[in-house]
């Protein structure tokens, strides 16, 4: 089943000429054709001829012995990465017809490594959301169903919900995501796949549509931990066009998987045992601890005392940056324009028509916290707390190599649930936000199913630029968990 492979397996199959890149691409195009109506994982599917032409070029490189590390591997691209000549919407009416004349650094890196793009995956508008319900192109749906309840559509998580749904359902071998407060890790957990948010600065932000500049980070969403390492190798690297990109060398991440984790110290942050945390989440966490102990890790309790301020701090800083980052969508130079008799009128009409409710909420919040008279009380205070949160991690990492936590406080919920209370929705990010605030790498690994048959993920948080240890621990957890379940809706189902 070509659509059920990992990147690593497919790469080996292509290298051994067991199948061609064209066959692999065709299988995925077929899967998308069958499943996208139900899942709405893709906003834009590339023309078949273009996809197959890319695959043929990959086949030629295999034949010539010049294939790159992602050569011929068909993947989805979150529709937040600008792709040259291919419509890039950010799931917003504002950019519904926007075709960038440039390629983002991350997608350019992937193309250089030989990857074959299938299309642009769905997301919450401008990456703002945790359920992929805030998309101007309709929600993406989780391919997983509650046991005995095939009728209820569940959310795939967000904001990279189209990517997680596509990878889980066999509509792409892997996909790119972006993570600002959990947007890679939480949907990965909800869809039973692997998601890695690298260290801030590891992947260039150039050409990726900005949500919150000090937090946004691109990363891979894959079916295995080794795949996450492989794909990150292709995505990462210094970029002179992004002043915040790191010039550290990019290691061979995939080699970190399978390395012994014996003697590594794993911290369990006490503050993540939030009151009211569902028993199934606690149980899965305990199981993870037991697996790592069995693999030879030393498990120790640690404290991240400012964790409880993480979410509120995040919901000041991220909206503040977004309110400014989204000011460029003014109807003047590109994107949607609604005409009006005055300049202010053009702004009002354009932005009212172009932005969805959640985006407007966040712009308003961000504008408020930056306003004269409120700046000190909100934004400045939040920046100070952010420093304290970073320091929490630095202190913890003096004693441990990684931290182990749940990825999300629940399994995937139904579309329509948690909708009336935005704060309830924001709570989905409670475990993922602190690592974003600190800029440290974090990985979500699927480790089991809950009683309803839905996947749950555990999160491994590492030191700055130490993705390798994170991947090693992730690999150990993956091996112990042996997660091989597939969702109800899947390219291989019924075939």
């Amino acid at each position: 089943m070509l659509t059920g492979l990992t990147l690593t397996e497919a790469r080996a199959g292509l290298a051994a000429r067991k199948f061609s890149a064209r066959e692999l691409a065709q299988a995925h195009l077929d899967a998308i054709g069958r499943l996208n109506t139900a899942l709405n994982a893709y906003i834009t599917v590339l023309p078949e001829a273009d996809v197959l032409a890319s695959a043929d070029a990959a086949d030629a490189r295999y034949a010539a012995g010049t294939a790159g590390i992602m050569d011929g591997l068909p993947i989805g691209v979150k529709d937040l990465f600008c792709t040259k000549g291919v419509r890039t919407t950010a799931a917003s009416k504002m950019l519904a017809d926007f075709v960038p004349p440039y390629e983002s650094t991350v997608t350019a890196n992937l193309l250089n490594a030989g990857a074959v793009f299938l299309g642009k995956t769905n997301l919450d508008e401008f990456a703002m959301g945790s359920a992929n319900i805030n998309s101007a192109f309709g929600p993406a749906t989780n391919p997983w169903k509650r046991k005995g309840d095939e009728a209820t559509a569940l959310v795939p998580g967000g904001s990279s919900g189209g990517s997680s749904a596509a990878v889980a359902a066999g509509m792409a071998l892997a996909a790119t995501g972006t993570d600002t407060g959990g947007s890679i890790r939480q949907p990965a957990a909800y869809c039973g796949i692997v998601g890695l948010k690298p260290t801030y600065g590891r992947c260039s932000r150039w050409g990726t549509i900005a949500f919150a500049s000090s937090l946004d980070q691109a990363g891979p969403m894959t079916r295995s931990v080794a795949d996450a390492g492989l794909m990150l190798e292709a995505m990462a690297g210094f970029d002179a066009k992004d002043s915040t990109s790191s010039n550290r060398p990019v290691p061979a991440f995939h080699k970190a998987v399978g390395k012994s984790v014996k003697g590594l110290r794993v911290g369990i942050p006490a503050e993540y045992r939030a009151p009211g945390l569902p028993a199934e989440i606690v149980a899965m966490w305990e199981q993870g601890i037991a697996w790592l102990k069995a693999a030879g890790c030393e498990v120790v309790d640690v404290s991240l005392p400012h964790t409880r301020y993480g979410l509120t701090t995040y919901y000041i800083i991220a909206p503040a940056e977004c309110s400014s980052n989204l000011a460029r969508y003014d109807g003047i130079r590109f994107g949607l324009r609604k005409d009006a008799p005055s300049l202010d009128g053009v702004y009002e009409a354009t932005r009212a028509a172009g932005f969805g409710q959640e985006v407007r909420n966040r712009i308003l919040m961000g504008t408020y916290v930056l306003s004269a008279g409120y700046y000190d009380a909100y934004y400045l205070k939040a920046q100070k707390v952010r420093t304290l949160i970073k320091r929490d991690f630095e202190n913890a990492f003096e004693n441990v190599d990684v931290l182990l936590t749940p990825t999300a406080p629940s399994a995937a919920f139904a579309q329509g649930e948690n909708m009336d209370d935005p704060v309830q929705m924001y709570l989905n990010d409670i475990f993922t936000v602190p690592a974003s605030m600190a800029g440290v790498p974090a990985l979500s690994v699927p480790v089991g199913l809950n009683d309803a048959g839905l996947p749950l993920g555990l999160q491994i948080i590492g030191k700055h630029f130490d993705e390798e240890t994170v991947l090693s621990i992730g690999g150990a957890l993956e091996a112990a968990a042996g997660f091989t379940h597939t969702p109800s809706i899947h390219a291989g189902a019924g075939a």
Binding site: L95, G207, A210
Partner: protein, 484 residues
């Protein structure tokens, strides 16, 4: 205090501070690689960053930072090794990002001073509060269509230095002197061309009035005044307006105003209630700007000689007057020209020629020092001809005019026209004899005691030699003949 306003209730003085926006001379913009040449066709010098396309990011231009440091050094100012870029948020059609990247809390340059000279010769120090780097906006064109405005983004993202003075200025004349001096320093440094007509240097003028000894009263800001003359006029009329309000029992509102030179008045542009809330915050796309002291030191050692130092040196080295030195250093190019003429020669004579005949010739031919028909080298050679007595001062004027017209070298002109000074005593004696024979009556008068006629004889001899005789030799020989 020489400038005051006499009101009904007493004497008022004015308090002025200036915010100058100086466009940085650099090949590319502050945060993008787009060109900064003035006058390109609309929207031909715009990168995706300048147009704020989705996902575009700013990257600081090293050269613009160096220019800001040079300027700070030239203003005797503190260079801040740590500075930071902030976003100033507001919506306008000429501002693609919806925010201007500027430096709010931590500017690259701190306190400095400028020394200005007034007409009466007084010298005053005006404090510089700060200098920071920021992006320029684009330009709106309202005259292209009856109902639409057009946007030209060529200027969008060009680096500006905002140079803020302390409220130390007390007279319109001081404001003018400050701007001229600042422009002179910027031009010497090569960090801004100071061209106010093209808008590469613009001034916002903060004006308030008060009675002697009072604390500051409410100020108004007059935006974007585009000539030094208008700045001085705007201060006068705005100060008069404020005095009128206070004396009628009113309150001056803190507001932003525009100067209308046609009507000679200022008008409200934005009241305090309409003032923008710019929501400044550190730009998360950029790291703080951290400078190495060693780099600052290196830039300092390579700084050109600045006007004040050059003026002092010209006085000392070439023995010229303070005033003359001030005229000669006003523009770097003139100073360079003068120095090329004066070096190794009579500095005073060089100054006389440059400020006299050369300036007159440039004026008459509508040329600048850069396009001068007489090169410094040629003028120097001409002074050499005077010094070695090949020509005398009077003939030199004729030679110079020929140089202006033909561009030929002074040697060639002297040869061509046979202007070589006559130093042959025989020829001079012959000329004297001829003159004395022609004027026996005058000779008799002279000899009977009318000494004043000596000058007449000199003139006649010079005429006889077509002006080419060496005047000293004529004097000498004439005395011998007359007293014989």
């Amino acid at each position: 205090m020489s400038y005051t306003i006499e009101g009904r209730t007493g004497t008022w003085e004015i308090v002025v501070g200036l915010e100058v926006h100086a466009q940085v001379i650099s090949h590319s913009k502050l945060f993008s690689g787009a060109s900064t040449t003035f006058g390109g066709d609309p929207n031909t010098q715009v990168s995706l960053v300048d147009a704020a396309f989705p996902g575009m990011l700013p990257v600081i231009n090293h050269e613009c930072v160096a220019q800001a440091i040079r300027t700070g050094l030239g203003l005797n100012a503190q260079i801040n090794l740590f500075s930071r870029f902030d976003r100033k948020n507001y919506f306008y059609a000429d501002l693609p990002q919806g925010y201007q990247i500027s430096q709010f809390e931590h500017p690259i340059v701190g306190k400095g001073t400028i020394s200005i000279e007034l007409q009466n010769g007084d010298v005053r120090e005006i404090g510089i509060t700060r200098l920071h780097l920021e992006q320029d906006a684009g330009k709106l064109l309202h005259d292209q269509d009856p109902t639409k405005s057009f946007v030209d983004l060529n200027r969008s993202g060009v680096a500006l230095m905002e140079i803020v003075s302390e409220p130390d200025i007390r007279e319109p004349e001081e404001a003018g002197a400050y701007l001229r001096k600042l422009r002179q320093i910027l031009r010497y440094l090569g960090t801004c061309d100071g061209n106010m007509e093209e808008g590469s240097m613009r001034a916002d003028v903060n004006v308030s009035v008060r009675k002697a000894g009072e604390p500051f009263r409410t100020r108004c800001e007059i935006k974007n005044v585009n000539s030094i003359r208008f700045v001085m006029q705007a201060i006068e009329v705005e100060a008069a307006r404020q005095v009128e309000i206070w004396e009628n029992g009113g309150e001056v509102d803190q507001e932003t105003r525009l100067f209308d030179p046609g009507r000679g008045e200022t008008r409200t542009m934005r009241s305090k209630e309409d003032a923008h809330d710019y929501r400044y915050f550190p730009d998360p796309d950029l790291l703080p700007l951290v400078l190495e002291q060693a780099w600052v030191d290196e830039l300092a050692t390579r700084l050109p000689e600045l006007p004040d130092a050059k003026r002092a040196r010209f006085q000392a080295e070439y023995g010229i007057a303070f005033y003359d030195a001030g005229v000669l250093i006003a523009e770097q190019a003139v100073a360079d020209y003068y120095e090329a003429v004066a070096r190794g020669r009579d500095g005073k004579l060089a100054a006389t020629w440059v400020m006299g005949d050369l300036f007159a010739a440039l004026n008459r031919t509508s040329k600048t020092i850069e396009t001068s028909p007489v090169s410094a080298d040629a003028l120097g050679k001409m002074l050499d001809l005077i010094a070695d007595k090949t020509i005398n001062g009077k003939i030199a004027k004729e030679v110079f005019e020929d140089m202006v017209e033909t561009g030929e070298s002074p040697d060639a002109i002297v040869e061509k026209k046979g202007l070589r000074q006559v130093t042959d005593t025989g020829a001079i004696d012959a000329a004297i004899t001829a003159v004395l024979e022609k004027h026996p009556d005058k000779l008799a008068e002279y000899r009977s005691g009318k000494d004043k006629l000596f000058g007449f004889f000199v003139g006649q001899v010079m005429k006889e030699t077509k002006g080419k005789a060496n005047p000293a030799m004529v004097n000498e020989a004439l005395k011998t003949h007359l007293d014989a």
